[in-house]
């Protein structure tokens, strides 16, 4: 079976986001952009399923500007067999991404699509579930263990207070949580190999899919900054202050 992995290019997780002075958004100019960490986990899981003989091919898909080719090359360096970029300069909301990915999933006839549970830029946490809804497929979000058994996927997922295990009929959608796996270290030979793998470019405008934003950004601001308090000398002073000053214990 074929697996599709959706990957997003985001501000690197080590870089602190700064709001532009005119309040129009977050400043991405000259910043390091990388693959969303949860999408790396998604790639790793798909590649492991192929290495384990469960999947025959892993296809990585990304939606966005031309620079997202880099992110697809990163996915191929982890081990994806090929990449598909749906190119557009329109600012995409998760619903639009879900629609574009469903075009690729249908065309490629995949049995499993893996998304990261959220992208660390917009923190929306929507694309996987929306894609599942559009396709009418079952979903297992926040996955921490995945097994494929015949026509079914058995997925343990993180819930409040523990785990629950779901059995899904394939084709299905999984979104990854932190503990699903630890993505491999990407080696230089694999980076070189990834450069030669096929990467298909599709213009989003040619697909006739409605990807226009449904929300208007009225402005972006920095949250109120919390001021540093004081350093206490010892635990006795701490307890005294918590009791008498803060009155929280």
């Amino acid at each position: 079976m074929k697996i599709l992995v959706a990957v997003k290019r985001v501000l690197d997780y080590n870089v602190k986001a700064r709001v532009k002075s005119d309040g129009s958004g977050v400043d991405l100019a000259n910043q390091k952009l990388s693959m969303n960490p949860f999408d790396e986990i998604a790639c790793e899981e798909a590649v492991r399923l192929r290495e384990g003989g469960v999947a025959s091919e892993v296809i990585a898909v990304s939606c966005g500007p031309s620079a997202c080719q880099e992110t697809l090359r990163s996915a191929m360096a982890i081990g994806a067999d090929r990449g598909v970029l749906i190119e557009t300069d329109v600012g995409l909301e998760p619903l639009a991404v879900a629609k574009l990915v469903s075009h690729v999933a249908t065309k490629e006839g995949v049995q499993l699509v893996i998304f990261g549970k959220q992208a660390i830029d917009d923190d929306a946490g929507q694309a996987g579930q929306m894609f599942a809804a559009l396709m009418g497929w079952p979903q297992a979000t926040f996955a921490s263990r995945v097994q494929i058994a015949g026509e079914r996927a058995v997925v343990a997922r993180e819930i409040d207070g523990g785990l629950e295990t779901l059995e899904l009929k394939l084709p299905a959608v999984i979104t990854t949580d932190l503990r699903l796996n630890e993505p491999r270290y990407v080696t230089l030979p694999n980076i070189m190999k990834a450069k030669k793998k096929p990467l298909e470019m599709i213009k989003a405008a040619d697909l006739g899919i409605d990807i226009a934003p449904r929300t208007v950004a009225l402005g972006v601001s920095e949250p109120a900054v919390r001021k540093a308090g004081i350093k206490v000398a010892d635990t006795a002073e701490l307890v005294k202050r918590l009791k008498e000053e803060a009155k929280v214990i």
């Binding site: 819930i159 803060a246 929280v248």
Partner: protein
């Protein structure tokens, strides 16, 4: 104008997150309907009917709603919303439950969801954090039906005093796409993280899973606190994932947050910086956690924490 609120519950009782979500719905104005879908959950429907301000409770009871699987639940919400043109908003808490089901509902309604709403300015204008809370966006939704997930810590729960009508909603056919095989839920002796008024949280500084528990549990017991952890501690295997506080874990805002051996990475601060009082215990005086702490104690946590327990 009517808002449909998807209730989070365990088939026995309404979760507090539902009350925060109803509080947010109140800010929108208009009627409030609460959907209670589950298995043998009549008691929950009654509890929802007693919440102040709720006009109507929609009670859907069937075996295939018992596990709250997203596929059946989302379809139930879609058909209800489509059946009555009065619906303008659909809300759910931004908890593990709401995050799972609500985007599915939004896509079925061809609507763009606004996640993690922390303020409601009008019926179509909302504020939400993104980039791990380093930026706040004001967004206006143009969708006919607005779908919002609500950050529970931003809205004080509504109280009792309602006398809503309970309407039985016919169950839709089981889609049969997914099945709950089992749950492994750890029964906690302590308060639940998202509802606790005091949280003791540990980071990589604890060094090992045994130490995490040996050092922090006596403190949590003494304070009647919930236990939390940084992503670094979860990654290192010191604590289970549902302890995780931060951008990719739980967002909390207790009265008192005690950060032990936590350096204060951006993604952790995103999950706890709205706490009323923050205490940090860390041996590195330069740790970023001290920039947000009301009270900082620089020292070896293995010495300071037991001392603190003794001093309480």
């Amino acid at each position: 104008m009517t808002t449909l609120i998807i209730a989070e519950h365990d088939n026995t009782a309404l979760k507090a997150s539902t009350l925060n979500t109803i509080a947010a719905a109140k800010r929108l104005g208009g009627d409030m309907h609460v959907l209670v879908a589950g298995g043998n959950c009549a008691a929950v429907a009654q509890a929802a009917a007693a919440v102040a301000g709720v006009a109507q409770v929609l009670h859907a009871d069937a075996a295939h709603y018992e596990a709250h699987l997203a596929e059946n639940l989302a379809e139930l919400v879609r058909s209800r919303v489509r059946s009555d043109a009065a619906y303008t908003h659909v809300l759910a808490p931004a908890t593990a439950f709401g995050k799972n089901v609500l985007p599915r509902v939004a896509a079925l309604l061809d609507a763009s969801q606004v996640s993690d709403v922390i303020a409601i300015e009008s019926a179509d204008t909302f504020v939400r954090p993104f980039y791990a809370g380093n930026a706040l966006a004001r967004v206006q939704s143009k969708d006919a039906i607005k779908v919002l997930s609500i950050r529970t810590t931003a809205f004080d729960p509504v109280g009792a005093g309602g006398t809503a009508v309970i309407e039985t909603l016919a169950a839709a056919t089981d889609l049969g796409l997914s099945r709950l095989v089992g749950r492994e839920v750890v029964k906690l002796e302590r308060p639940e993280l998202s509802a606790a008024s005091i949280i003791v949280s540990g980071g990589r500084g604890l060094g090992a899973a045994e130490k995490f528990h040996a050092v922090l549990e006596p403190l949590a017991d003494k304070l009647g606190a919930a236990l939390g952890a940084s992503r670094a501690a979860v990654d290192a295997g010191y604590a289970p994932n549902d302890y995780q506080v931060g951008q990719t874990g739980k967002i909390v805002a207790p009265q008192l947050y005690v950060a032990v051996g936590i350096s204060g990475a951006i993604q952790h601060l995103a999950g706890m910086k709205d706490s009323k009082v923050i205490v940090a215990i860390n041996k590195d005086a330069e740790s970023p956690i001290f920039q947000v702490a009301d009270y900082g104690l620089v020292g070896d946590l293995f010495v300071e924490v037991p001392e603190l327990v003794a001093a309480l």
